[in-house]
């Protein structure tokens, strides 16, 4: 029992660190972002430049904390990690899809800026892709949380991550100067290359837990805790 409590406490700390890491990497002005706190900028005006470093450090630290949690209570740690990954990644996909579903035109404009389909001589697919892809994000994200089909939803999400990585690498390789458009739509000619880098780093990190989930047995979140 004591081991389980310590393991749970470590995993809670790891979850908070991952949340801080994701906020630092993807949402620089959120309430969880540490590097844009006024008091810190007063002391160290360049602190905001190090958001990716802080985010990555938080994620690595969280991974490190998971190791003793796993060693203390293996079974509990696996169940907790499966729950956290399912809710976290599924929730992230649902959140990311909402604005794209609300404004298909803006998302289609953003997809076109990647200039990926013209390179494959598939320009005509652009709009249909922009219509369908957010729906995939929403429903597979939801399926990962509320249905027992974790393997199938994680498999689909894994390939979505692969497509994001390819698209972002393409954009950075061709120096297109566009933003990721992962969580919010901008004017289409947004200009911060750093955001594409941070999105690429985030996707390269999150693809691993997704791959792990794709190899788990199909269970609902309730059954994950009930099974012996």
């Amino acid at each position: 029992m004591k081991k389980t409590i310590i393991s749970a406490a470590l995993l809670i700390v790891a979850s908070i660190l991952v949340a801080i890491g994701v906020a630092e990497i993807s949402f620089p002005e959120s309430f969880l972002t540490f590097t844009d706190q006024d008091w810190l900028i007063d002391i160290w005006p360049k602190a905001y430049r190090y958001n990716i470093h802080v985010g990555l450090a938080a994620v690595f630290l969280a991974t490190g904390i998971c190791v003793p949690a796993y060693r203390l209570q293996k079974d509990f740690a696996i169940r907790a990690l499966e729950t956290l990954f399912r809710v976290g990644i599924g929730g992230m996909f649902i959140f990311a899809s909402i604005y794209k579903i609300q404004d298909p035109h803006q998302f289609a404009v953003l997809v076109a800026q990647y200039q990926f389909f013209p390179a494959l001589h598939l320009e005509s697919v652009n709009n249909f892709f922009a219509l369908v892809y957010p729906q995939f994000e929403f429903w597979f994200g939801l399926a990962m949380i509320v249905t027992p089909f974790v393997r199938e939803s994680a498999f689909a999400i894994f390939w979505m991550f692969v497509s994001f990585i390819i698209a972002l690498t393409w954009a950075l390789g061709n120096d297109l100067g566009i933003t990721c458009g992962c969580f919010e739509l901008e004017d289409g000619d947004a200009h911060d290359k750093a955001e594409a880098w941070t999105s690429l780093i985030r996707d390269l990190i999150l693809i691993w837990p997704t791959l792990w989930l794709a190899t788990r047995k199909n269970h609902s979140l309730i059954k994950v805790w009930k099974r012996k």
Binding site: Q113, F149, S153, A156
Partner: protein
């Protein structure tokens, strides 16, 4: 009657690489790993519930069509086609 000698692929590979045994071992290890990966991928793909996967995908396509009709005209897109590629900003940060 003596059975004919069967030369295994590894022996052929060994002859090909000759003295360069490190490269030979690397090649064999990679070949084995690749074979294992292919076997694992095939069994994994068979273990997936394709009815669920394709069902959700079909449902998504149907909803995408409905969503494009539901949203106001300024936010909807043509089913087939692309969008204008905007000018690259002068200064990419």
């Amino acid at each position: 009657m003596k059975a004919p000698t069967i030369i295994k692929s590894t022996e052929t590979d060994s002859r090909l690489f000759g003295a360069n045994s490190t490269l030979f071992l690397y090649f064999i290890t990679m070949k084995d790993l690749l074979k294992k990966l292919i076997v694992f991928s095939k069994s994994y793909l068979k273990s997936l519930n394709w009815i669920v996967l394709l069902g959700i995908a079909a449902f998504c396509i149907a909803l995408a069509v409905i969503n494009n009709i539901r949203v106001e005209d300024s936010k909807s897109v043509e089913w087939i086609g692309s969008q204008e590629i905007l000018a690259k900003p002068d200064e990419v940060l």
